[in-house]
Symmetry: C2
Subunit: 557 residues, 2 copies
């Protein structure tokens, strides 16, 4: 008899449920529920592009709709599957905190606040609190620099405390009505298991550790005195509502309630795993392990790695998060990323629109016919700033080496190469601080669509590029958490061996390309350092000369 | 009774004759003769893109065709004009040397050599002698660095001695048959006046001084010992064929021969002025004078200035030529230029082809709606290297400040601004070395077609941009030389007052734009210096920050 687990994957515009065989990771049912509120599920403000909220009712509605539909599909494959579901896992966007009352009910579900965006979930990409983020960063630099060291050196407007402080500043009624603020990744497991009450709700280490300054080395969430330093203690109540421990994805937060069991047709008491962010469970669904970096390539990238807790990892400068157990239990979770990857290509193809009738696909194919170094072009992948390792949104893109003959495809390839150099900076920084990477597992649409890009990444990083077989690695990772808490496997290592797989197609470095990219990367790093840091003081005269020399060499002239 | 003069303007693909009133510069007749040989007049070699020659027979045929047709047109306006022509002036491309026999007959006009490109005129843009140019530069650095100081520090493959040495290396038969090599600018006046014989032919200071290392401070052409140092004296005979003096455009090289007077229907003995290069006489046709820079804006630019000989001008580092009387008698002629201007725009519009259905005109109009600094973009105008002041063909273009929103028109405007900054570097360098510029007179199609570009130039240079009325300033300048040698005016100052004029439309600096461009120019110069010279050793961290600050300020956010 096959066993199954359910993965619930809360994205920016919709929630997906998958029914996965715990034997081999096969997905036998899947369904998507699009959030009905706002603009594709996001409540926006035409007057302020920084606003991005979501209505918590959409999340609740999504559980029943998506799980029921996924199970219906699964029954076509295995009529007995419902009885054989052994657990549920959940991943969500984040930091997406929701203000709740003492019972854990989202304020936006109360009539008083139902239309107030400030009482809804503050979606990860809400940037209204950019000033509060600066305030928190400055306070941490002065009082607790160690808080920042774990999150790359700068607190972000996308994160928990900045959003709370912004609400306290702009909507005191909502802020005062909130008994606590709960991450979406914690709220869904709590809803399913009826553990939403303030004294029961579990907080996951992934959200707490990466976004809310939680670390066991200083006793959990940040010190009361630090939090109390903002606006005469306005955040103190919110801080006091938080527990001193956190759960990971191998922890069971509770059993499915009678009510939800009835609605979904599942067994009461079914174990529900601790939540985590989507990218982190995507890493799990890719089979992440020490030595393997997972790249989730989309409009931006999330680059994940793990290292055994026994390695006694120090902080990694410029890497957004190093948090024990945030990805895999028993390992440090390391989160980095590039602010724009697919977004740069989309800008080039759809906004700059180079070349008559040049589609994305045609540009990709034309770029694929070029040899490394041939164009003499070098770009910096900073059109949307640099998240890792510079943590600086005020950096911009650059294209250098232009001639009267530079073509649309040459520039496109240079942009792809720039993103490869950017990911190499991340890989090298991790290796330098004790997290060596031997192979990269890629997921996300681009990894399957562009062999050109994948080969460049293999050549620039000089390591194999593998592709995760699953097209829903986040949901798969959640289902793996459901399998572990359901008892199918003792740990995620065993679960990964059985439930994850890689495409047969692998991209292996081509030595002659590696040699050219080694030179180009040296020049990229030079530009990176002089434009992106304050430390570098030498002249840059060699840059163009060496580019031309490399180009001439590549062309054989 | 009106008097007239004839201007003969030898371009790259055709020769133009104009009949101009010496009273007011009005053109009453004009005709063009397209060179029949080769590809649009240029004899090329499919196997070597560096080859660019012209058949001397085309030049001769052009005299009769173009002058006769122009006179026919002029007679429609003034039936008595032919009898009232008082002089002829000539401008040509250059350095365009022609191998000739003792009588001054071009070798390609002899049956033996009639099909041999090496025996034809070596057109200015022939680059076959790039190795010889390096050889000559290195020898001059070692033996006579002063020779290079007058031509910007590097001898070019486009110039006289490099072409002779290349011919000596590759076609000894032609080289030995040549009694001398004559610039096209000298050959046409000699042909018209029957002074082609080696002991009669006059060499003009414009060609000799800018391209053949002629300077009175070292006794004219370069020292015999220097010329003899190449290939065991292979160039000695050619050097010995040259006189020790040179003429300028106010000198009469002779009178029209009986034969040519008959062919053209003009008076025998009509004075013919010393020749000069097209751009230099274009400067004259724009009314150049001390304090006024003339910009000839085309695919590249030629930037000309003059300074009284009494100023005791030193060499100007990075400026291609400072030659007494090369433009106006009694003044230093100063020649600088940008390697690509219109070519950069053409690359962008026709090669990169940004924006759906975006024409050059639409991009220009869209860029005109943007404010200085608004895009946050900064470019270097080096897509074809940098001629002045860096004299380095191995520099390349750069665009910096790119975001996910950078638009086709924003980048176009950044490229236009880059060319403005490039011309400001030239203007500032001239001023620094004793040639202050108070106004700029522009000519060339772009100056009349793009008010957007002209206003940016006015704002970046913070000085008025004027436009020459004439659309044929080179031919007009030649006709002014004809007017001066014909006695209509005592000097070019008087001729310019009467015969040149400016468009009513002037571009005056807008103070608020000037202020923004002052900041942007500071950043341009920073990039210019760190990427273009070896001297600069500070970090560049501020560049992107300041660009963003300027952008935010411009947007008022």
């Amino acid at each position: 008899m096959s066993k199954y687990s359910i993965g619930l994957d809360y994205g920016t515009n919709s929630v997906r449920a998958v029914i996965v065989s715990t034997d081999n990771g096969e997905e036998i049912g899947s369904a998507v529920f699009n959030y009905p509120s706002g603009d594709m599920g996001v409540v926006i403000d035409p007057k302020d592009p920084n606003v991005a909220r979501q209505h918590p009712a959409d999340y609740i509605a999504g559980i029943e709709s998506a799980v029921t539909a996924a199970l219906a599909e699964a029954k076509q494959v295995d009529p007995d599957c419902v009885a054989n579901v052994i657990g549920i896992g959940v991943d969500t966007t984040g930091s997406t905190p929701i203000p709740v009352d003492l019972a854990g009910k989202a304020l936006a579900l109360q009539e008083t606040f139902s239309d107030n965006p400030n009482a809804m979930a503050w979606l990860w990409k809400d940037h209204t609190s950019y000033k509060e983020a600066i305030e928190i960063t400055e306070a941490a630099v002065a009082m607790h620099p160690e808080y920042l060291a774990k999150c790359g050196g700068t607190y972000s407007s996308e994160w928990y405390w900045a959003k709370l402080l912004k609400c306290a500043h702009t909507d005191p009624a909502v802020f005062e009505a909130a008994a606590s603020w709960i991450e979406l990744a914690d709220w869904i497991p709590a809803i399913l298991t009826g553990t939403t009450a303030l004294n029961q709700i579990k907080r996951c280490i992934c959200a707490a550790g990466h976004k809310a300054m939680f670390n066991q080395s200083w006793g959990g969430y940040p010190a009361i005195d630090f939090i109390a330093s903002f606006d005469n203690g306005i955040l103190t109540k919110a801080r006091q509502s938080l527990p001193s421990t956190a759960v990971n994805i191998s922890d069971t937060v509770g059993g499915l309630t009678t009510e939800w069991a009835g609605k979904l047709g599942l067994k009461e008491g079914l174990p529900v795993a601790g939540g985590a962010f989507d990218a982190h469970l995507g890493g799990v669904g890719c089979g992440i392990r020490p030595g393997s970096m997972v790249k989730v390539i989309g409009t931006s990238t999330c680059d994940l790695a793990v290292a055994p807790l026994s390695t006694k990892l120090s902080d990694i400068p410029g890497v957004c998060g190093v948090v024990p157990e945030s990805i895999l239990p028993g390992s440090y979770g390391i989160e980095a990323g590039q602010s724009a990857v697919g977004d740069i290509f989309n800008w080039y193809v759809h906004k700059l629109q180079p070349g008559k009738d040049m589609t994305h696909r045609k540009l990709d194919q034309a770029a694929d016919t070029l040899r490394p170094g041939q164009s003499g072009l070098l770009a910096l992948d900073w059109n949307n700033g640099n998240r890792t390792v510079l943590v600086d949104q005020q950096l911009t893109g650059l294209v250098l080496g232009l001639t009267l003959h530079s073509s649309p495809a040459e520039i496109f390839r240079a942009l792809v190469e720039a993103t490869a150099f950017g990911t190499r900076m991340i890989r090298d920084r991790m290796a330098e601080y004790g997290v060596p990477i031997e192979r990269v597992i890629n997921c996300g649409g681009i990894s399957k669509k562009s062999p050109m890009l994948m080969q460049i990444y293999a050549d620039v990083l000089n390591c194999p590029m593998l592709i995760a077989s699953s097209e829903q690695t986040c949901a798969l990772g959640s289902a793996m958490a459901g399998a572990v808490v359901g008892g199918a496997y003792p740990d995620f290592d065993a679960a990964a061996k059985a439930m994850t797989s890689l495409d047969e197609k692998q991209y292996i470095p081509i030595p002659e390309n590696v040699a050219v990219y080694e030179k180009l990367f040296g020049l990229y790093k030079q530009l990176h350092d002089i434009f992106g840091t304050k430390e570098y003081a030498e002249n840059q005269f060699n840059v163009m000369k060496e580019l031309i020399a490399i180009r001439e060499e590549s062309r054989g002239t």
